[in-house]
């Protein structure tokens, strides 16, 4: 084989190898302030970073109102208020068997919980029933929270077949199958 041809072959092979990793999913969710996540990543899924994630209760509201984490993450629930607060969830993604009561505790105390089930966790406080918050547990490392404009980007997604889910408070969750190949688009209009 002539040298020129084998060089060309190597370059083409290298380019093909890169394209298999650098996929992404972009899109828009209507209305905004939504959460999007992927499910069905093939191959080993990297574990969540060993970082402390906190859900606080401050000023009689859950802060942040929406928290998105990867499955396997431990969330620390903190009470920063002078009053006692309680944290419980009645279900996870509608599964009532996954209900859990973290208990009621005073200012300054933190209680951890490791989320091993993916889905939507609606947080409530039974001392202040008007309080509400959400933890969205993504089954994969590919998740994003949109801004008010609803735009999102999931970067570095390996090409492949996935299920993409969009959630917005008060709207019906929507999921659809997508095939990620390079830059892929997925838009949602939630009802």
């Amino acid at each position: 084989m002539k040298l020129g041809n084998s060089l060309a072959l190597v370059v083409v092979l290298a380019l093909a190898a890169q394209a298999a990793v650098a996929g992404s999913v972009k899109g828009k969710v209507t209305p905004g302030n939504s959460v999007v996540y992927l499910e069905g990543a093939s191959g080993p899924v990297q574990a969540p970073a060993d970082k402390k994630v906190t859900m606080d209760q401050k000023g009689l509201v859950f802060q942040p109102h929406i928290l998105v984490v990867q499955v396997g993450t431990t969330v620390e629930f903190l009470n920063s208020d002078k009053v006692q607060h309680n944290v419980f969830w009645p279900s996870i993604s509608g599964d009532k068997k996954k209900t859990h009561n973290m208990g009621t505790w005073p200012q300054g105390e933190r209680r951890p919980f490791k989320f091993t089930d993916p889905g939507v966790v609606p947080l409530l406080c039974n001392v202040h029933p008007e309080m509400s918050g959400y933890i969205i547990v993504s089954p994969s490392p590919y998740f994003a929270e949109t801004g008010a404009d609803g735009a999102y980007t999931l970067a570095n997604v390996p090409d492949g077949d996935y299920t993409i889910t969009a959630w917005h408070e008060g709207k019906k969750v929507q999921s659809k199958k997508i095939t990620v190949k390079g830059d892929t688009t997925a838009d949602f209009t939630l009802q």
């Binding site: 309680n86 009645p90 279900s91 509608g94 068997k97 209900t99 409530l124 202040h128 029933p129 008060g170």
Partner: protein, 334 residues
Amino acid sequence: MNRIYAAFALATTLTVAGLLLSAAGQNPQATGAHAGVQPAKMVIPGTDAGEHAISSAVGPSWLKHLGLTVSQTHLGQMGGSSPATAQKPASGANDPAATVNLQSMMQRFLTTFRSNPEQAAGALHQEFQATGSDLYRWNCQACHGPEGKGFDPEINSVVGPVQGTSAKMARDRMIARGIEADDDMVNQMSELAATSLRDRLQHGGKNMPSFDYLRKDEVEALVGYLEKLAGVPPTQRDGLLVPESAARVGEHMTRGTCHICHDATGPGAGMGQASIPSLASIPRDHSLSGMVHQVQYGSCSTLKLTGGDVMPAYPYFTEEEIAAAYFVAYSARQ
């Protein structure tokens, strides 16, 4: 009532104290500050003291316990000298339609205590019906306000915690938010909230005193009223009536409201001093009508100029309720 006050002006407070004290067989003696462990039982002859014995406030005021002055709390900012034009409750213990109510019993007491101490004592212990809203006014309103909303951030609202006790409200809220909930779980959470509410009343907390002197039926009637304040759908506690007596009303008032600021025993207010008179000193130093006026109108405004602690006005208490407190206050002698 004015006629009765006039009759009162004839008798000095000491005579009153002397009569009741001698009836109880004890020596009139203004003791110094003495925080007893057991509350003193006011024993009046002619009644079954066991059933009707009431206990008086004991020890230093709740504010002293917290290390606060009145001016540092919302009570000191409410100001005195406000006209007693607040809506006087006309139901429950003060129900004019009831043949036996607080007003008739206090009137009978005040007209008979000199001539017939035994009959007067009977009037103090005669039972009539009271409501949860009465109990709230006597024990809770001074701190938590007329609607239970408290005074943020010093005093918490009771609305949230009471709403948490309603399984129905919780279920409705979850449905409105599109959240799936298991009935058992909702019931369990609301029962936990109900237990913790009663626990709070029983033991108090860091900033809230304990109300362990409330009977079980009084607690339920009170919770029934709290449910009303919190907008919770009515439960079997709604409008619950409980037996009370004039003596017991005095106990609610002194232990539930007065003792927040006034020590049970100790010196009276000094001239030019920023001091709060002890409960025991009030019937010794003040006439009934003087005290009624002070409670309904608050401290005179010049007191603020001399740096004294200003007593807020309590226009939501009736004259008879204040009178009942007057006669129980004097019993806080040990």
